[in-house]
Symmetry: C2
Subunit: 707 residues, 2 copies
């Protein structure tokens, strides 16, 4: 039993898959189909070059409403010496015309034409209607447009003026679009204009997505401990769809070797690619590698990429994989060589009678990144289009990152522009944290060979969002408050995005000093005089002019289990109960305003921190505290009422404190933050905040300090 | 009758539409609908904030395959002094556990857990399986994973290590996604993880597209002069679809006032927006403004934007538009004021009982840009998402542009990066040339108030393509040859895009000197010695090291009508016939290699250019010459056989000439051009070119000069 995977470098893994597909003649456009030329062709990829069948326009067309003339008959017309041309009806001009026998009669004719009308054969220019005077049969100015007896012009025209000559847009036989072009709206028009009614496009690759795992339950199930919601297949299907493939989501298969084999075999018959999720690691119930070994050949097990390293790449034989009358031995160690040898010697089953399979890791972030890394390039090849490439930018890393030296390490980052500097702030690196992908503005890559990077270093970021979106992002780093979630919601309605990172009040001020945020939420009590924030701002951000605005007054207190089973009433009870070993506390991290508040009151009450069980157990948000209490990890923690309410916990209010927004002056005057100031005066926002328990909005918007 | 439109500035036009919609309570998200949470939700826009219903994980979960332990029981474990923990079965550990009564027994337990398993209540950390030694009941190393009697560890673990605590990803009640968010694959996973099975999204705005025009015929029709293929509705529908709307394409309506009224009325009842195309100008058969005046209110007729100025904005009453019991008078001059007054006084029909209508100009480029300018913002508002914004870059303009001072003038440009400089090369400015939109890499804006810009000036370009695509573009400026179309096709298969602009051979060399192209196609004959290109390169590009590679040998000759009705055999016949007024010639532009060739031979034959009728009539491409002959504008022109063949014309070969690629050394060594050199050695490419009539591929790839 192979417990340890053997991770190989990414480029080598990709090359193995490519070679196997090349050997199987599957490294190419899979096939073409004809589809009608309608708006559903949008986004499809041309499978053949599109050559023009007809020209456009297919005749010399008037480009204006006006009068068709021969240019020569306008020679000499000037404001002071106009020329008059007699107007002929459309009927009378339908005469056979020979270039060599222009009669004087025809040379002085004009004929009314609408935009798009064919030029009469004898004409070679158009005079726009606004440049002529219409005359009646007595030579008087007339208001008739189509019916004047003659027109008077006061300027000569050059040949072919205001005419769209045949082929101006498209000449029959020219290349309109090459193969491998992803169709956009205007392309459809050009294809129609060049005489086509249908288009040959690459057929969509069919991708089977097989979720496996006894612990998995479908979306919407009532959950018990140990159940895992199966949503990877949803994310993978959406990825495949956005890449131009056609996903099939299979129902969940239990962790049973034979059931998985059966379903993989079935999917491989009818699909171009099988994604087997998960079981790709090397645990007791990880069957994927054995399934691939049994049904085909295992090419790769383990890639040096994080997150996502337990990736499996292989091929499944659509019919039995036989070499010289014997099944190919397929252990993970030697299968690749066997496979190659068999392919080259031509002794296996027909060359393209295989279906590639990818064993996708189970953690959602690993799963999504695996598909981005391995599947996008494959689908691009199968469609014949260029691979999607994210735009890249260099950004300044806001904090130190460590990384295993041997791996390509993809780090989700929030990206914002603060004071002209593009910043990359690392998000959670947990492979199970899908919200980190939701919040991510890009992926920063720490390449294999680099063990980590320091804060302030330049890092290359592959951007998920456009530069325009990023420039509408307000970076808020500091203390967490539920009001920020509501603020994010309201700001989104005003074309701003709020990216908030929770590092505690002091961390926020430090970030402001470093120029790494537009604003910070802070509720730092000064133990000297009971004031909030000002003394800390002066200490942490000397010489930086700021504007400080009150956001809310809020209750701080003890978050306890429903019914307060330990009967806790004050901070005194913590130390007291702790002596008896009864009360387990959970604390906020050092630097958090709530921690300062706790220490201030412990000091007033002369309670020693070490007398509190759990004083050193740290959480980074109010909801983290509430979660710890709700889950039984602790009996109580200091936090805000809203967090207790959110998780149906009880709350014992102890103090009211002020939560302020600290904004450097340079950003306070910036248009980026204008919607934020509007929001503070918006009664809808006030009302929404006041519905949160324990919040006092009377101070909202009060300017506390303005340098 | 109002012949002249009154163009108002773009911002004013947009404001009028917005105000009318605000008055009608239609400047908002139109409505919401619940859809299932599956991959079809991709690209939809959230209509409500998504708050987490459950936490994820919803229990403390093991993050690894390994053994659950209490961290405290590992204290002191070191390589030299291991600790052994007895393994309990899953059954025996299911006991009621009280934090306050940790028995010595429990403290030294370990229990096997798979990744994702719930942590036993008594445990608070996991030791990964690869960090333990499994022991059998005799204390000997065992290979059992799940079933060892005990495990030996050689390092302590901290509490909560390798555990995903409850809420690590999502805490119940937190904001998962705000309103107005366009859903991506990972978002769907996060929504599922937070306990939702359906999503509230903005309903898709329904947009009716009404093509009108007696001259219009459907795609695929057999064409006669004057027929215009109706493909605007296709492009518009595709645009609406890509913006997130739901288009309905109506059949073509003839130019008949009552029929158009009837259809507009019908469409307005069932759609959120009506696009009436075309008839938006002020010609005899332009009914759009009158239709809007009759059925509702005309807000704008004419916007100072090019291309696209004859735009109509208005609203259609779903029921009769009545004010104080009388129909509102609605001439274009006063309708807007009446409309506003009526809305404000509340005396009209119910406020939102109108449907906006946009009269879209008929020229395809104007139509597409009008939809981009007016409809995208509207649909964004109706969906509640941020408007799409194209990324912008500053680029160097390659040639002078003139522009009417009063208009915002959008110029389609090809964009390429040549030697580190981003270049914008203006494409055809004709509003009828849809291929200019196909070829465009972006739109450059000459804002109202600016009358033009000089070559070399920096211009702001809104980019259609990603920077990555643009950096894979080979800019080829110079003489046109059909081989370049084939080359574009082959290069597309090798992840390169060929953007070619045809300015003649000398123009190409000048562009190379200015650093505005990667290569130029050139066939310039030196009249001194009969050599090709070299002397011109030295003259036009002094001191620039180049590589010159032969592409093809090709026949030049006279392109004549089928059957050569004028019996032309040589250049001598041109002058001769011309004396009798019989042969009409069409010439290439000054600087073109073909023009030089003509002049060379005219000189040898002592034929005076002025003796040739049409010598001054210029076309810019070989196909332009062929088109002029095919259409009867000329009897013959000098050009290449392939162009004659393309349009079924006859060809009288006169000379063979060499067509070379001229490539500055700095680009010849660049990776960008590598696929081009591969191509010149590719037998498939040679064969494709040799199938064109009059081409000799024996010289292909020969290096003529390398500095």
């Amino acid at each position: 039993m192979s417990i340890y995977l053997h991770d190989i470098p990414l480029s080598q893994a990709q090359a193995r898959l490519r070679e196997a597909l090349q050997d199987a003649n599957l490294w190419r456009v899979l096939g073409a189909e004809s589809i009608p030329l309608d708006e559903n062709a949008l986004g499809r990829v041309t499978a053949e070059p599109i050559w023009a069948e007809i020209s456009s326009p297919h005749y010399h067309a008037s480009a204006m409403d006006g009068f068709a003339v021969r240019a020569v008959s306008t020679n000499g017309a000037m404001p002071s010496s106009p020329i008059e041309l007699s107007v002929v009806s459309e009927q009378s001009s339908v005469i056979s015309y020979q270039l060599s026998v222009i009669s004087e009669q025809l040379a002085v004719q004009a004929q009314y034409v609408d935009t798009g009308d064919p030029l009469p054969e004898w004409a070679n220019a158009v005079i726009p209607i606004e440049n002529v005077e219409s005359l009646d049969k007595d030579g008087q100015i007339s208001s008739a447009v189509r019916g004047p007896a003659s027109i008077r012009i006061r300027a000569a025209v050059t040949p072919w003026s205001h005419v769209r000559p045949l082929g101006e847009d498209i000449v029959a036989t020219q290349l309109v679009l090459p193969t491998g072009h992803t169709l956009r709206p205007a392309d459809l028009g050009a294809i129609a204009a060049s005489g086509h009614q249908t288009i040959r496009v690459a057929r969509k690759p069919k991708v089977a997505i097989l979720p496996t795992g006894t612990e998995l339950v479908p979306i919407g199930s009532k959950l018990k401990a140990g159940d895992i919601l199966e949503y990877n297949s949803l994310v993978l299907a959406a990825q495949i769809k956005s890449m131009g493939g056609e996903p099939t989501r299979y129902p969940i298969t239990k962790d049973d070797f034979d059931s998985i084999c059966e379903r993989v075999q079935e999917a491989a018959q009818t699909h171009d690619l099988v994604l087997l999720n998960a079981g790709s690691s090397a645990g007791a119930e990880d069957f994927s590698s054995k399934v691939v070994e049994k049904l085909g050949a295992l090419l790769v097990h383990g890639v040096a990429v994080r997150p996502g390293h337990p990736v499996i790449l292989g091929v499944i034989a659509r019919s039995a994989l036989v070499l010289d009358g014997e099944a190919i031995p397929s252990s993970s160690e030697i299968a690749h060589l066997h496979w190659r040898a068999a392919q080259v010697s031509g002794k296996t089953t027909p060359r393209n009678d295989v279906t590639p399979i990818i064993g996708v890791p189970g953690y959602p972030v690993s799963a999504a990144l695996t598909v981005d890394i391995f599947v996008e390039a494959l689908i691009a090849k199968w469609l014949g289009r260029r691979p999607h490439e994210l735009p890249t930018e260099m950004a300044t890393l806001t904090r130190k990152l460590v990384s295993p030296a041997g791996d390509d390490d993809y780090v989700r980052v929030a990206v914002g522009k603060v004071g002209g500097k593009l910043l990359a702030a690392p998000l959670s690196r947990g492979a199970g944290v899908i919200t980190s992908l939701v919040q991510a503005d890009g992926l920063a890559l720490i390449p294999s060979g680099v063990q980590g990077m320091e804060a302030g270093e330049q890092i290359k970021v592959h951007l998920y969002r456009s530069r325009a979106e990023i420039e509408k992002t307000i970076f808020c780093i500091g203390s967490h408050d539920l009001t920020l979630d509501l603020m994010a919601q309201f700001l989104a309605e005003h074309n701003r995005r709020l990216a908030s990172a929770n590092v505690g009040s002091q961390g926020g001020l430090v970030a402001l000093r470093r120029g790494e945020a537009h604003m910070a939420g802070s509720h730092l009590l000064d133990p000297q005089d009971g004031s909030y924030n000002i003394s800390y701002i002066r200490q942490y951000m000397p010489n930086i002019p700021v504007k400080v605005i009150a956001l809310v007054g809020r209750d701080q207190g003890l978050i306890v289990k429903q019914g307060n089973p330990k009967g806790i009433k004050s901070l005194g009870d913590l130390a007291g109960k702790s002596q008896e070993g009864g009360v387990q506390f959970v604390n906020r991290q050092r630097g958090a305003g709530t921690r300062v508040l706790l220490d201030y009151h412990l000091n007033l009450m002369t309670i020693a921190p070490e007398s509190i069980a759990g004083y050193n157990q740290e959480e980074y948000t109010h909801l983290g505290i509430a979660t710890a209490v709700a889950s039984g990890r602790a009996d109580c923690g200091l936090g805000i009422a809203a967090a207790a309410q959110a998780l149906d916990l009880d709350f014992i209010p102890l103090f009211q404190e002020r939560y302020d927004l600290v904004i450097p002056k340079q950003f306070a005057d910036d248009n980026l933050l204008a919607p934020l100031f509007d929001l503070l005066a918006d009664s809808r926002f006030r009302e929404a905040v006041s519905h949160l328990k324990g919040y006092d909005v009377s101070v909202m918007g009060t300017v506390i300090l303005e340098d």
